[in-house]
């Protein structure tokens, strides 16, 4: 979508994280609501248990790059919202530490067919007191649960918004972001 002028560059940059497991709709959500760009970050393989030669005991300096979802929404007066989509598995949390610093907050995307995949992300943001909401992406043919059932299964605090969305629809994706920002605003007004 055309999201306004970017010619003068950003004056104020705001961050929103989009977290969730593989296939939950992160890329779809970021693309439907913002101007997406390619972005990679490094993952140091020595920090994780994948592909490390632990028989030699020598620290391998191999680094792999990980693709992230990255999108911008340009508002007036050089205010730009930066969206970062990162995978939900624990081994990618190193990205969240940096991305959540000073961020508006996080959207945890969930899929009712495998809600357990979202537990880790919910735990992470809860413990660090980072404002977050849960957006349940409604895939076709998936068994529909009521929001109350989903909320109970996820065991989130009553004040945490849980809503359904269709990540492919721009208006729905926008509503997800607005719900998060409203939640973040009410939390910081209350503190």
């Amino acid at each position: 979508m055309s999201s306004g002028r970017f010619d003068d560059g950003p004056r104020l940059a705001l961050k929103i994280l989009v977290a969730g497991g593989f296939g939950v709709g992160k890329t779809t959500l970021v693309s439907s609501v913002s101007e997406i760009r390619p972005l990679r970050t490094e993952e140091h393989l020595t920090d994780v248990s994948v592909g490390v030669d632990d028989t030699s005991g020598v620290e391998t300096k191999a680094t792999t790059t990980v693709a992230m979802d990255f999108g911008r929404i340009t508002l007036r007066d050089g205010v730009v919202i930066y969206l970062f989509g990162t995978p939900g598995q624990e081994r990618f949390w190193f990205m969240w530490n940096e991305l959540s610093r000073g961020a508006i907050g996080a959207v945890v995307l969930a899929d009712t067919r495998r809600l357990t995949a979202s537990f880790g992300a919910i735990d992470y943001f809860e413990r660090r007191r980072i404002p977050f909401i849960v957006a349940v992406n409604c895939f076709d043919g998936a068994h529909r649960y009521s929001l109350a059932e989903i909320r109970e299964a996820l065991d989130v605090d009553p004040h945490v918004p849980v809503l359904t969305c269709d990540a492919r629809r721009r208006e729905s994706a926008k509503e997800v972001l607005i719900t998060l920002i409203e939640h973040a605003a009410s939390l910081s007004a209350a503190s």
């Binding site: 010619d7 497991g21 990980v66 007036r76 610093r101 995949a117």
Partner: protein
């Protein structure tokens, strides 16, 4: 409910090739001080490079982009380099005062007034 996809599957589909960013950053793997935030906004100062400083091609490209303000993430995306590499390249340019940060980030969350304005603008988009 089914278990999540195995991690290998994700790696295969989304991870890039093995790279050695050390070559791009001339061996400086990590920035010395507090790492730059992905949304720290950088701008070129327009000063000439000190005589002892030899800029890499990537640093020259970065400086050219920063004639207009760019965040670290914007630069990584436009230069086609991983975030961490851009952080290291930018740190060196900051030390040599070829770049500056437009407004240092405090790590504080945005205030409610700003957030309400953002909501109104988003609704209107």
């Amino acid at each position: 409910m089914q278990p999540d996809h195995p991690r290998e599957r994700w790696l295969d589909e989304a991870a890039g090739p093995l790279v050695r960013p050390y070559a791009l950053t001339r061996g400086r793997a990590r920035p010395r001080g507090e790492p730059l935030d992905v949304v720290t906004i950088l701008i070129a100062t327009g000063r000439p490079a000190p005589a002892r400083v030899r800029l890499t091609r990537e640093q020259q490209r970065l400086l050219t982009l920063c004639r207009r303000p760019h965040t670290v993430a914007d630069l990584a995306s436009e230069l086609g380099l991983p975030l961490g590499v851009v952080g290291v390249l930018a740190e060196e340019l900051l030390e040599n005062r070829l770049l500056e940060v437009t407004r240092p980030l405090t790590g504080a969350r945005p205030d409610p007034g700003l957030l309400r304005r953002v909501i109104d603008e988003l609704r209107a988009l």
